[in-house]
Symmetry: C2
Subunit: 342 residues, 2 copies
């Protein structure tokens, strides 16, 4: 049962005031060298640890940062959080994680919890673009709690964000399929109320346009980010009068489902049909028929997010800083769309 030593204990021990102890511990130049040394030594001897709660109350800073994600147990978000963590820990910030499970009311709850917990900042990847959570976001801003979006953002003035260039990602993925000789490229798109999915779709359209392929909206079909949906949606595509000869999926999971369905129908990949996914989930690489996909550099994204936060915290200027960082997507070409060796 080790009693905690406080600055008062040290003060009593040395017959000086707590104020002097506090100043000495903070290397205040007003305190004489000898006193500082004495206090430091005594503090070490008495195994003194600063009480961060007391500091938090006085300064109004908890030293905690809230991170809100749809879910934590996917490679993408797990890696982003890892990046955030690695950047913030050396700066004495702790990371508090919340999950929304793609549920808006849960998102609101989480933000309130974090505000209650007096976090020094919030980093969030929002669930979707609906108006419902607009209000709570503004409450965060009103409270002057630094807010940063990553990956799934809202466009709000004065709020920084770290995303990847989803338009470009959609573009290069589609362009790659065109380069492989595909002419009828379908797109499994995500919830269009989210900017990321909208941009992937637009990139896809632009690539078609730039390469003289007419856009056909029957080739665009929304799919959830899971295998089952990928299967059923692909099945529908294959029943079209003129079925597609390639799929660009906005999700790796849906792409995997698509591949399973294609195989089930005896279609040869990549000979007769090419597939590109999105996210570079670990399994895309491990599959026997490895899946081409877009890497989103999640680790990097996490680190950038944390860095931008730290910059804003250290920004003592009077003006608000807004940074919109857009990372470069990287296309990994794998077996599911490589025809050069055939």
């Amino acid at each position: 049962m080790s009693e905690k030593t406080t600055i008062y204990d040290i003060a009593k021990e040395l017959n000086i005031s707590a104020a002097t102890v506090s100043r000495a511990l903070n290397n205040n130049p007003k305190i004489s060298e000898s006193t500082i040394k004495l206090v430091m030594d005594t503090a070490a001897k008495m195994n003194y640890k600063q009480n961060r709660l007391a500091l938090a109350l006085r300064s109004g800073k908890s030293g905690n940062i809230g991170v809100i994600v749809p879910r934590i147990n996917t490679n993408f978000f797990g890696s982003v959080i890892r990046g955030i963590e690695e950047e913030l820990h050396p700066n004495k910030y702790n990371v508090i994680i919340c999950q929304t499970h793609e549920d808006e009311s849960r998102e609101i709850e989480n933000i309130n919890t974090l505000l209650d917990a007096q976090v020094d900042g919030i980093m969030i990847s929002i669930t979707n673009e609906s108006k419902k959570n607009e209000k709570i976001i503004h409450r965060v801003l009103e409270k002057n709690v630094p807010l940063i979006f990553f990956d799934r953002k809202k466009n709000i003035d004065g709020v920084s964000s770290i995303t990847i260039d989803d338009f470009k990602a959609g573009y290069i993925a589609t362009k790659h399929l065109i380069d492989q000789g595909c002419k009828k490229i379908a797109h499994l798109c995500g919830d269009q109320s989210l900017e990321i999915y909208e941009n992937r779709f637009k990139g896809y359209q632009k690539a078609l346009l730039d390469n003289g392929i007419t856009f056909d909206e029957t080739y665009v079909i929304q799919s959830k980010s899971n295998i089952e949906d990928g299967i059923s949606v692909t099945n529908k595509l294959l029943q079209l009068k003129t079925p597609p000869d390639a799929i660009f999926s906005a999700s790796d999971f849906a792409a995997l489902g698509a591949i399973q369905e294609l195989k089930a129908q005896g279609i040869q990949i990549p000979k007769d049909f090419c597939v590109v996914g999105f996210g570079n989930e670990p399994f895309t690489k491990f599959m026997e028929l490895s899946i081409s996909t877009i890497d989103q550099s999640p680790l990097e994204m996490g680190k950038m997010t944390a860095k931008v936060f730290l910059e804003q915290m250290n920004n003592t200027e009077d003006f608000k800083m807004e940074k919109k960082i857009v990372l470069n997507p990287i296309l990994h070409i794998r077996k599911s769309s490589s025809r050069q060796n055939l």
Copy 2:
């Protein structure tokens, strides 16, 4: 720029003392119904939020729980954390995540960080069994900070733990291979200084013994939990005078490497060779040749860990509570070891 309202603001507004406000907000029976209602209403009107930092200082409880894992971006740990989170959030605890990257000194750092941050408890899956971190663990206990192990534990009196029955897991995995007709079963084992890997190995041995198969130590070979090591280790096994006809790997990643190497050597799975992995990583299910594996119920493990913590927090009795919970491993039989359809 919304100024925060405190109980003093409410007190001033109503011309009563802050003490009364505090008591009213906490539904103290000493306060008259009418006052409580008045205070509650005014608090709501003034948008009062309790300052958790002040509460934290006074009570000595931060409301934060530290969770230490080797890494966060794997399915297993991600899911455990998710489980912990889901159980603790409704109880007003926040979860602070730390990663050790399998580095002992990092582990010590993390524990110190958490103690500094005045967490109300620590849940940890340790990096390994070496003596170096023994000291810091005891410091946690001395400080009376509740400590709980999950998955990778140390055996310390009075400390609760939630694990799976790794011995049984090793046993049923091996028994399954024997049932498939395999006679020369190799084991890719993990770091034997970790109890979990030691127990998987022991279960493997016992299953062999119980089924009249002589244990052959040349069939046991240590492998790191990654594909590359799985490949190289399997290559070595195949060069033996009498190569094995099955592998029970203590890691899914090594199992995947093993399968890749087996295929590369033209060996038919499961006809000529069976493989069972460990962990039920998502990819094991997605592979075209899906991999048999042991599920560790990580979500359940996380939830149990949190529950045990909450129980200990609510335990007002004078005695210490120690719970050693052992979850049941579940064998998922998939293509890599299913001979019944051949």
